[in-house]
């Protein structure tokens, strides 16, 4: 293609736009946060213990009576005191039913970037696994997998949901690495 070299543009104009106005529009756009919540329904989903009529040693027994999940603080992988109680129960249950291998699934909330949250979920799964090992669960019964922020259980735009999504779920069987 033949190009014609031209002197500096004469006709193009630069207009000064106001960055403050643009920032204002952004602020308004995020001000109207929706508050619709889609919270887990049952005690089992929440990982709370409860009076269950589940068959001892069953998946339902583990989920309802032991609690299959623990929660984490923002960007944290340390096992909170309430989580330690849940994991202690898990370790006791797994000692009682030694035929189960388990996978610890690590998750992050959506307030992070995709790649980092995959690693953060893995870190949470690893610290959960380490705690279970410290409570006597043999390492060869434990696998881990991270889903990052890709599998939330609670959907809303505030901490009430994010705090439920920052979790490690112990799944009987499962297919981690």
């Amino acid at each position: 293609m033949s190009r014609i070299d031209t002197p500096a543009a004469g006709r193009m104009q630069t207009i000064a736009r106001n960055p403050v106005m643009i920032a204002l529009v952004m602020t308004l756009a995020i001000a109207g946060c929706a508050s619709k919540k889609n919270l887990p329904g049952s005690a089992g989903e929440l990982g709370l213990g409860g009076a269950g009529s589940a068959t001892p040693g069953s998946q339902q027994d583990f989920t309802v009576n032991v609690g299959d999940r623990i929660f984490f603080d923002t960007d944290s992988t340390s096992i909170r005191a309430d989580a330690q109680q849940t994991l202690d129960r898990q370790a006791q249950w797994l000692a009682k039913y030694p035929n189960y291998a388990v996978t610890v699934e690590g998750h992050a909330d959506e307030r992070g970037t995709r790649e980092y949250n995959l690693a953060l979920g893995a870190r949470r799964a690893a610290s959960t696994k380490d705690y279970l090992i410290s409570r006597g669960v043999p390492a060869n019964r434990l696998k881990t997998i991270s889903y990052g922020k890709e599998k939330p259980v609670a959907v809303c735009d505030d901490i009430s949901c994010w705090s439920q999504n920052r979790r490690a779920v112990t799944v009987l069987g499962g297919a981690g690495m």
Partner: protein, 436 residues
């Protein structure tokens, strides 16, 4: 899966049209200097290419490309005075100057005896009264959109002096269904959202697709068989393979600029470190070794350096190291955390995601960390990717509330932000290199 003629080499034959008017450089002044930052778009008249519906469709795509760039303002066809009946003849420049068309595009589309499409266009400088360029292309009729993008690239380049980016594609993650049960597939489309099609169709979670430099392959992450690993997909054949045999989750892959290596993170227990795998010898090399999360590696265009993110200092920050892992140094020092660094194809900037004050921004900084500029801020913006000319970024945005992520593009001025149309929700865009 993929059965397009897109990847066949040189399916479009190009030629120059003889200049109708002898070049008179002294008066040719239609030019846009992108480096001036925020420029007033250039008024341009893009006439319907002659002979029928296809000619009109091609000129509409040309006009849409140029308009989206933010550098051109196509003039409403209703304002046109002269009706172009012979695109080989010089237009009546006065008729175009009157409506302030500083540039004029005319063209013609015809069918050759062998069934091929012949598309010709001429770009005129109306005030100088000269032809700026004229080219013709031959292709199969089904590639008409591609010809339109190539013409738009030629006009963009002739007027801005920069390579265009319209004849390019984007791979991304197409998302559907509710947040708690989101289905994700790899998909590919033209940069303007046309010709979208799925590359995978399974219930396995797939993330972060990235083009190889020759556009023949995509590397991505898949949870196939619940083994989260980096894969390589051959676009022509649909063949897939796992990249490497690592003892843990591999993720966040990207090609080296020469296409010989894939760089990625390997997760082992709580730590993620960066590795490369040579695709020919299959040898792997470890580049970082910390008890931290090192991820999102991206090569400089000359392959000599790698930008990545790490939380080794407590929170996510951007670091740069040599391609052999030497000289690791932090470059982001602003308020907040920084992630997903992506080196510009021009080498002059690194784009990133920044989290600060509960908001997610897309920004750029120089490779030494200086000159940070935020281009867009909101509830959640993430994952920038560069157009091959290094002037425009695409990223994904999740607004507060229900719904899902959508793709947007923004130029380096930060003023020209455009939604990129996709059929459903979309995330993780990766812009293809230019199709030579």
């Amino acid at each position: 899966m993929i059965k397009s003629s897109f990847f066949r080499a040189l399916m479009v034959a190009a030629g120059l049209l003889a200049a109708f008017v002898a070049a008179t450089p002294a008066n040719a002044v239609v030019e846009i200097n992108i480096n001036k930052g925020n420029v007033e778009p250039l008024p341009i008249a893009i006439t319907d290419f002659l002979q029928g519906e296809l000619g009109k469709k091609i000129s509409d795509v040309v006009a849409a490309d140029l308009k989206r760039s933010g550098l051109f303002k196509p003039i409403d066809k209703g304002a046109f005075i002269e009706k172009i009946s012979n695109p080989d003849a010089a237009p009546r420049f006065e008729d175009w100057k009157v409506i302030n068309a500083q540039a004029l595009v005319t063209g013609r589309v015809t069918q050759e005896a062998d069934g091929r499409l012949k598309a010709e266009f001429r770009l005129w400088d109306t005030f100088a009264g000269t032809q700026m360029t004229g080219q013709q292309f031959f292709t199969q009729p089904e590639n008409w959109r591609r010809v339109a993008h190539i013409i738009a690239d030629a006009i963009y380049e002739r007027i801005t002096g920069e390579k265009g980016y319209f004849d390019t594609r984007v791979v991304y993650v197409a998302e559907s269904g509710p947040k708690t049960a989101r289905k994700r597939q790899l998909a590919m489309m033209d940069q303007d959202g046309a010709n979208a099609r799925a590359l995978t169709n399974s219930n396995d979670l797939v993330l972060t697709p990235r083009f190889s430099p020759n556009r023949q392959e995509v590397t991505y992450m898949s949870f196939e068989n619940n083994q989260p690993r980096v894969y390589l997909l051959q676009l022509e054949t649909g063949q897939r393979e796992v990249v490497g045999n690592f003892p843990g989750m591999t993720f966040s892959p990207r090609f080296s600029p020469d296409g010989q290596r894939v760089i990625m993170s390997l997760q082992q227990e709580g730590n993620a470190n960066i590795y490369t795998m040579d695709l020919r010898s299959r040898t792997t090399t470890r580049l970082t070794s910390t008890a931290a999360i090192d991820t999102a590696p991206s090569y400089s265009p000359d392959g000599s350096q790698i930008a990545f993110e790490s939380d080794r200092g407590g929170r996510q920050q951007i670091y740069v190291m040599g391609a052999d892992g030497s000289g690791q140094r932090r470059i982001s020092f602003g308020d907040g955390s920084y992630s997903t660094p992506v080196w510009s194809p021009r080498g002059d900037l690194i784009a990133f995601t920044k989290q600060s004050g509960g908001k997610f921004s897309i920004g750029v900084m120089k490779p030494d960390g200086s000159g940070e500029r935020i281009l867009t801020t909101g509830f959640h913006n993430e994952g920038p990717t560069w157009a091959p000319n290094g002037r425009v970024l695409m990223f994904f945005r999740q607004n507060a509330g229900a719904g899902g992520p959508q793709l947007y593009s923004i130029d380096l001025s930060g003023y020209n932000e455009q939604p990129v149309p996709t059929q459903g929700f979309a995330s993780d865009p990766a812009w293809s290199p230019r199709l030579e």
